[in-house]
Amino acid sequence: MMSTDKQVVKTEPENEFTTTHHVYEPHRAGIPPLANYTRELWKRREFASEMSKATLRGANTLTMFGQLWLVLNPLLLAGVYFLLVQVLSGGNRGGMDYFAQLCGGLFTFYFVAGSMSTGAASVVGGGKLLLNTAFPRLLMPFSAVRTAFFRFLPTLPVYFLFHILAGLGFHLSMVVSIYFLGLLIVFALGVAAFFATMQVYFRDTTSFMPYFNRIWLYMSPVIWSIEQVPARFTKVLNILEVANPLHSMLGGFTECLVNGDIPSLRTFVTATVWAFGVFAIGSLFFMSREREFAVRL
């Protein structure tokens, strides 16, 4: 092997997956080479799932009572909103089918909200691991979304129980809701990445979330459903439809799941654009900043 004292000599050809030759140089806030980054990310996907599994184990989520708690918490919340709406409407707002719709929407909303809060805490909470190991940091918020998703899963059977009790029946079009759930996951990944970055710079980001979530919930078609909105609110609805990503995503999701209707093309397009748009913005924002995380933790 010949060597000059100017360069590090490569003793093996550079390999896509086990590249061992690295050059580190100063960077402006920029986006790392995407193909490489994605490959490294994919190669370590098991880290994200293992991390999430360990988190779930640590929080006793996998025990029987843990699962019960995951279900009980949103269910009680649904009960509270149900009673509230019953009282406010003088008892003439829907029965079992309204409750089923409320559960479906609320459980799914809390999946997104959960991704947001666990995602936000993921990088700052990663402390020593981030300071001592080099890996694509996006794994941290993505792992948080997996955790939030596995907290959401046990609530699905509960939803179906109420679905059956309400006599809503099963339609082939319910399958379409899987597409919307997929969009919600993509959206949650973007949201988690975005808030994880914010949390590094402003450690009180998570303390604003409960308020933000509450407002977001009221502006999303969860407690109210799109068809039932009085005519005088159509203007507001038209704005929300475009401005609130959850309007199309959650609205489309519950429309298929609860009512067995196929949402309009407009809803499909809006939801898809929002989901991938937020995913791109969130993860690119994260990537452009992640090399700085270690000096700021």
């Binding site: 061992t20 050059v23 293992e50 691991l129 001592n132 190991t133």
Partner: protein
């Protein structure tokens, strides 16, 4: 005292001299690394807004490394010495690609041991085994590779009984034994040990010294940060001395240690509390 020099039984052959004319494993050119911290304990929106009102500057910059250049040929065992806060850990993290340089350039050829130091990537609420697996997966090993190693790591660290207990129940010595054991079992081309042994007991230090001597022969390069000048002289064939972020000296371990000892005005006769 549990210093290496005191334990006669340590099978550490005298380091071979720095190979000349070998290809470089690491090349560091004019490296500067700056930490940015805020005046507050943690940066928050609340403080950012109040500061805005008072027109204060938000970040304080700490230049942890200033214009450091050196290169490391294949087969080097480089000892790094310096006072606390000299920038030794920062240098290690920069070489591992964790901290981005603010100026300069680092070129590394080889896989670096993923877990560098005491407290390494460890989440105290998870068990030792979970931490080993997570660390390995994060650094790009496959599940099969990590699981195969987890047993060896545990055995070497002597933690068979505790490996499934949460790490918050570990003593600091157990922590550092596990950290060291993980670092040496990941088959790195470039091995980095950053004060990883200061809390280990004498038995483990002896065992670790043997392992390091063995790895030094196989690894492409070996970096040892230690306050034990004796171990630096025993295990390394090259040394650098950092002081307040600047490279003060590069030379044989004997020369550098002598200069450092003189600098900190600890005479040869003074008792140096050794810790590897």
């Amino acid at each position: 005292m549990s210093s290496l020099s005191a334990s006669e039984s340590v099978p550490t052959p005298v380091p071979t001299p720095v190979p000349s004319g070998k290809p470089l494993t690491v090349k560091v050119e004019n490296l500067s690394v700056t930490y940015r911290t805020t005046f507050e304990r943690v940066p928050t929106f609340k403080n950012a807004i109040t500061r805005l009102g008072r027109g204060q500057r938000a970040v304080r910059e700490i230049e942890a490394l200033k214009d450091v250049s050196f290169d490391v040929p294949d087969g080097t065992a480089l000892g790094i010495i310096g006072n606390n806060g000299a920038g030794k850990s920062t240098l290690m993290r920069a070489l591992a690609g964790i901290l981005p340089p603010n100026k300069g350039r680092i070129e590394v050829h080889g896989r670096i041991s993923p877990l560098l130091s005491l407290g390494v990537g460890f989440n105290a609420n998870l068990s030792g085994r979970e931490n080993i697996i997570l660390g390995g997966l994060a650094s790009g090993l496959s599940r099969a590779q990590v699981e195969a190693r987890a047993e060896d790591v545990t055995t070497f660290a002597g933690l068979e009984e505790f490996i499934d207990a949460p790490m918050r129940t570990y003593s600091s010595g157990m922590y550092s034994r596990l950290a060291f054991s993980v670092a040496v079992h990941m088959d790195p081309d470039i091995l980095m040990i950053d004060e990883a042994l200061s809390a280990g007991d004498a038995t483990f230090k002896t065992k670790a010294a043997g392992k390091m001597a063995e790895l030094r022969e196989n690894a492409r390069a070996f970096f040892l940060v230690s306050h034990s000048l004796a171990s630096i002289q025993q295990l390394c064939n090259d040394a650098i001395w950092l002081h307040k972020g600047e490279l003060m000296m590069r030379g044989t371990p004997q020369e550098v240690c002598a200069a450092y000892t003189k600098f900190v005005q600890v005479g040869d006769s003074a008792v140096i509390l050794e810790d590897l």
